[in-house]
């Protein structure tokens, strides 16, 4: 990897952290549990990396095996996270729709 790419990736990292801090500090404490499970689902984005390992059959078998396991666990993280968050958020109701 050349150094200019490394720098631009770090640049993106820095900006994203600031954006994240701004966004998350606006989340009310009532929603902190769904925030955790929802952001947890987002962290399952490693799925993309896992897929590129699992899908390359030219690679050594061990890469494909590790990749496929990673795909499994990342999918679990993503799907489980989004579904359980949705289940929780569905329950947050206003007074009038009771």
């Amino acid at each position: 990897m050349d150094s200019s790419l490394a720098v631009s990736l770090t640049f993106i990292l820095l900006l994203s952290i600031f954006l994240g801090v701004e966004l998350i500090s606006k989340v009310p404490s009532t929603l902190h549990t769904p925030l955790m499970s929802g952001s947890n689902a987002i962290s399952g984005i490693t799925l993309l990396g896992a897929m590129s390992l699992a899908g390359n059959s030219d690679d050594p078998t061990i890469v494909v095996v590790l990749g496929s396991l990673a795909v499994f666990f990342a999918t679990l993280n993503v799907v489980g996270g989004y579904f359980v968050t949705d289940r929780m958020l569905e329950m947050f109701k206003k007074k009038d729709n009771q």
Binding site: M1, L9, L13, S16, I17, L19, G20, V21, L23, I24, S25, V27, P28, S29, T30, L31, T33, P34, M36, G38, S39, N40, A41, I42, S43, G44, I45, T46, L47, G49, A50, S52, A54, G55, D58, P60, V63, L66, G67, S68, A70, V71, F72, F73, A74, L76, N77, V79, G80, G81, Y82, F83, V84, R87, M88, E90, M91, F92, K93, K95
Partner: protein, 453 residues
């Protein structure tokens, strides 16, 4: 246009959707939509990735995705709302595991002399992934009660520091030599330190640990993003990392403790002798409690972890509705660290159909506490302990608490006189305006509900 460019454009849209999704989480009214938007972002990113040139075989991906989806949906469906902290801990662990696997896989994929930057990010992704994995599994075991006591022993911090230095040393040798032996040491030691780091932390500090592990799982995704040079992983990972760090800060502030203090020492070592508590405990019967509540015009309910343990949230909602029908104003006051994870009480009450408008934060309730007729404390202890305000020698002195003792009458629902998780005596129980309703919280409330009917 080549496919690589299109895929990258999709990644841009996807980061945009994650950001919009998180933005919608700023209100309970739009939060559900936000979660859907965020999941859409994930979906298009995954579909676009399938078109990468490196991906030539789909059978393993497809198999693993289907298996993961089935297990994920069943877990999300079957889990009880009271066990949500365990679920989040476990999901964190899976996220960590997948970064660990991606890191190791990337090592085997690039065996021929990669750049220093590459080997550094590979080892970073492996270390964070491994710590998140074992730390989360132990947190999960502690939350569901498999592991009960925090483990503390002499020289623990030196021992952990030793492991940490060993990890740094082997990470260094790996980055320079790119050898498999160093890598195995890094993996093994990182898995160990995850366990040792969480082992000394007690039940009441769990909200901090979960938030921190949440943040690690984001950092792990970030590191994996550097490994495969993918912007989307970096953006998404940074958002999650930021969210975990902010929650960790909020939790620490709510306990008036520094993060280092939570991580490296238990409550017991927080110091100070406790003062003798003077006064008498006044128990009360269900019948008398009913009379007090029947006459109350303004009631504030303060739930704690005990409400989750007793599964009393539905009974509590029923009681609050009956009180409202009786012409009484009912609010809930929720301490930031009530329960085992941030927002734990809010989710349980939402499950029981309590509208979110009457769930109040500590800072909104404390100023009006003197106007409240009756405060009902259900399974909360340390978060309502007036010693945090009054007794400078108390280990929790300075921690912000809900000032229930300033209400006209305080009803405390409790099993017995055992102290809270921090093991600290609570002078609230001895105050002249406090009445103790002993027994299981759920059955006590059900008896009260029966009286109202």
């Amino acid at each position: 246009m080549d496919s690589k460019l299109i895929i990258n454009l999709v990644y841009v849209i996807s980061s945009f959707l994650f950001i919009v999704g998180l933005k919608n989480l700023s209100s309970p009214a739009t939060a559900r939509k936000g979660n859907l938007i965020s999941s859409l972002g994930m979906f298009i990113a995954v579909v676009a990735t399938l078109f990468l040139n490196e991906i030539i075989s789909f059978k393993f991906i497809l198999g693993a995705v289907i298996a993961g989806t089935i297990v994920g949906i069943s877990m999300a469906r079957l889990i009880a709302m009271t066990s949500m902290p365990e679920m989040v801990a476990l999901l964190n662990g899976f996220g960590g595991l997948s970064s660990l696997l991606v890191g190791v896989g990337a090592y085997y994929q690039n065996t021929s002399s990669p750049s220093l930057f590459f080997s550094i990010v590979v080892v970073f992704s492996i270390v964070i992934g491994a710590i998140t994995l074992t730390g989360s599994i132990l947190a999960w075991a502690k939350l569901n009660g498999t592991v009960k006591k925090p483990l503390q022993y002499m020289g623990q911090q030196f021992f952990n520091a030793g492991i940490l230095f060993a990890i740094i040393y082997f990470s260094y040798t790996f980055s320079v030599n790119y050898d498999i032996n160093s890598l195995f040491f890094v993996i093994g030691l990182s898995l160990l330190i995850g366990i040792f780091a969480v082992a000394p932390i007690g039940g009441a500090d769990m909200p901090v640990v979960i938030s921190l592990l949440n943040s690690y799982s984001g950092l792990a995704a970030c590191a994996a993003g550097f490994v495969i040079q993918n912007n989307l992983l970096i953006v998404a990972g940074a958002l999650v990392g930021a969210s975990g760090i902010i929650l960790t800060q909020i939790m620490c502030k709510a306990m008036n403790r520094k993060l280092s203090n939570v991580l490296f020492s238990g409550f017991s070592s927080a110091g100070g002798k406790e003062e003798e508590i003077k006064g008498e405990v006044s128990p009360i019967s269900v019948d008398d409690t009913y009379l007090i509540l029947e006459a109350a015009k303004n009631v504030c309910i303060v739930p704690g972890y005990g409400m989750a343990v007793a599964q009393a949230q539905h009974a509590v909602r029923e009681l609050s509705e009956l009180l409202e029908e009786n012409g009484c104003e009912v609010n809930f006051a929720i301490h930031p660290v009530a329960g085992r994870m941030p927002g734990h009480m809010n989710v349980l009450l939402a499950e029981a159909n309590v509208p979110y408008e009457i769930l109040k934060e500590m800072d909104d309730v404390n100023p009006i506490m003197e106007n409240i007729d009756v405060c009902i404390v259900i399974g909360a202890n340390d978060v309502v302990n007036p010693a945090a305000r009054e007794s400078e020698t108390s280990p929790i002195y300075g921690m912000p608490v809900i000032n229930v003792d300033q209400a006209n009458t305080v009803l405390v629902l409790k099993r017995g006189m055992a102290s809270g998780f921090a093991g600290i005596q609570n002078p609230l129980f001895f105050k002249p305006n406090t009445r103790m309703l002993f027994g299981d919280a759920k059955s006590s409330i059900q008896e009260l509900v029966a009286e109202f009917k």
